[in-house]
Symmetry: C2
């Protein structure tokens, strides 16, 4: 077990640690202190379970924690209430009480589903995140957003629910398909764009090694990403304002995911294209200069990501979905835009014509 | 509009007022300040909507709040995820955004369903309680417990979610069937038993007038009940300990409701029988004397309530359901018991044989 970094998300009584390193999976001394009660339910999927389920089960056995598991089908299209209900059914059938711990072992979809199930089972049980994808390690496992999709909109059903701890084992990224590693890098690049121009420059230097899977560099990228996310979440846990900057590219990205059908574009891919649209609008407004666009586009492409939406997607499709996006407040569409590299802000005060130009 | 009493549930940033009086329904000046955003969704049921929906709609019209409604079937058997999903479907179809307000207009079932839907729609929207039954005015509308039943257990899916305000219009009790008024009185008697011997004595004096619908006495009973509940919830919002005393009779009661099928015994009726079982066990343990049992039994009977479980219910049925009750922690069944009239405590430290005698 090599814990390279540890940081804490400071949320008062709901504070929790994030462990980043290698060989962390299946370590009873690390996991044990975060298990309450005598039973746990591991939620994973058909891709991740064959690789890592046994290790987590062994860690629980070592702590004499009774455990069950629910193995979901793999994919965003299974991020539904039906999956949540299958978890709750198992918790009830196996008589898990309110001190039981739900453990999410997998990517962002597994974490979102398992976290939401944990938040509503018996009005909330303990929850541990073991993210196994880069995207979930840098984004979805931190900050307490949980939930599922509805046919009429992404993430429309959910809760803010913080885990007991996050165990980010960089070793799991070795088995991650290249396309998913790239999707995770989209969110890493996002942190540079919205909050930290120096980190953006560091990514420009190291993107090839990151894409090739360099463990130490990945651990550092996860650390900086989680640190930025933690800072923003600490200031605005329930997204009354600031936290929305974490959604750079997500309003456009959600529209892409919805229009293409969940699961066809990876979330990170849609966010990459969406971020370029937000940058395009920011540029049209004259808030940033062309160099930001070209640098962002070059970095995302080197990371293996799309920098434009699907060619056949219409302006109408964007507007239809965006009108019920959660960022829509009282009818006007708020967007996350850039006023400089490393500085994002939320605004509904942009030129509607320029938005239409961007969508075209 | 006659606001007879106002009290505040003190929960820091989540504090909210409870208004108790007559003619409160449909008063825009009362409701308006608690509506955020420009839209609201009223959730009611087929019994309550014909009586009071129009009044609430008029209050919203006066404040130029766009509104929709979902009318559920009436009954505990509809307290399901399917009802929650029908509310969320309407919120999405009618494009309610995250500043929308969900208004519960009805009894405890409507409040529990609507509150849970509000808590998970877009990870939480504003919520207003307008309870129209005595049971919901004195119990379920206050304290933030929301949720639905699962075929394997009552209230197994839910959230702690506080409303913006509670509007308890005593006038609505005039249209309440006598059986439901009695069911509400069970919870009123509970507050005397667990917390306030003087209030219990006051109830002994006034039970006939309360049962006959005396408005001023009912307003006072609601006030004292809400005050006790607020105090307990303020000390222990998420039921880490103390709050559990509010569940006097509920573990036995849930078992009765589950065994008989939801909706056949009213919740308050099951709680009344359950409280007598808790008192029986407390008496067998020697913690209280026979006078507490005889006074509780007499008061509950005068309130029109059962004081024993269904004759055909077996010990086995009780134990099966109680083992997955939320009060079961790590396998041992904690129960709320009395050590005196007006003083409840939570314990797993009772004689198992005496429990079996009580169940027999």
């Amino acid at each position: 077990m090599d814990i390279k970094h540890k940081l804490t998300v400071e949320l008062g009584a709901r504070s929790y640690p994030i462990y980043i390193g290698t060989g962390l999976l299946g370590q009873a001394p690390l996991l044990g202190p975060h298990i309450k009660g005598r039973s746990a339910l591991i939620v994973s999927n058909t891709t991740v379970a064959p690789l890592y389920l046994a290790a987590v089960q062994q860690a629980l056995d070592a702590g004499t924690t009774r455990h069950d598991s629910v193995i979901l089908d793999d994919g965003e299209q299974f991020k539904t209430m039906a999956s949540v209900e299958s978890i709750i059914e198992t918790l009830l059938q196996r008589r898990h009480d309110r001190r039981s711990t739900v453990i999410a072992l997998g990517g962002g979809v597994v974490g979102d589903i398992a976290g939401f199930a944990a938040s509503i089972y018996q009005r909330g049980v303990n929850f541990v995140q073991i993210p196994t994808t880069l995207l979930s390690q840098v984004d979805s496992s931190v900050g307490g957003k949980t939930g599922v999709n509805h046919p009429l909109g992404k993430n429309m059903i959910g809760a803010f629910y913080q885990p007991q701890c996050v165990i980010a084992d960089i070793g799991t990224l070795g088995t991650l398909p290249a396309r998913e590693l790239s999707a995770g890098l989209a969110e890493v690049v996002k942190y540079g764009l919205i909050y930290d121009a120096e980190f953006f420059a560091w990514l420009e230097q190291n993107i090839d090694a990151l894409k090739a899977g360099d463990t130490n560099l990945l651990a550092e990228a996860v650390l900086v990403s989680c640190r930025i996310k933690a800072r923003v979440v600490e200031l605005d846990e329930r997204e009354a304002g600031l936290r929305a900057i974490l959604n750079l590219g997500h309003t456009f990205g959600h529209a892409i995911e919805t229009a293409m059908g969940y699961g066809n574009w990876l979330h990170g891919e849609a966010v990459a294209a969406g971020m370029m649209m937000a940058i395009d609008l920011s540029l049209r407004e004259g808030w940033i200069d062309e160099s930001v666009r070209s640098r962002a586009s070059a970095l995302l492409q080197r990371a293996g990501l799309p920098v434009a939406p699907p060619a056949d997607m219409t302006t109408r499709q964007f507007l239809d979905v965006m009108a019920i996006d959660k960022k829509a407040v009282d009818g006007s569409i708020k967007l996350v835009l850039l006023r400089a590299l490393g500085e994002a802000f939320v605004s509904a005060d942009y030129d509607q014509d320029k938005l239409l130009q961007t969508l075209n």
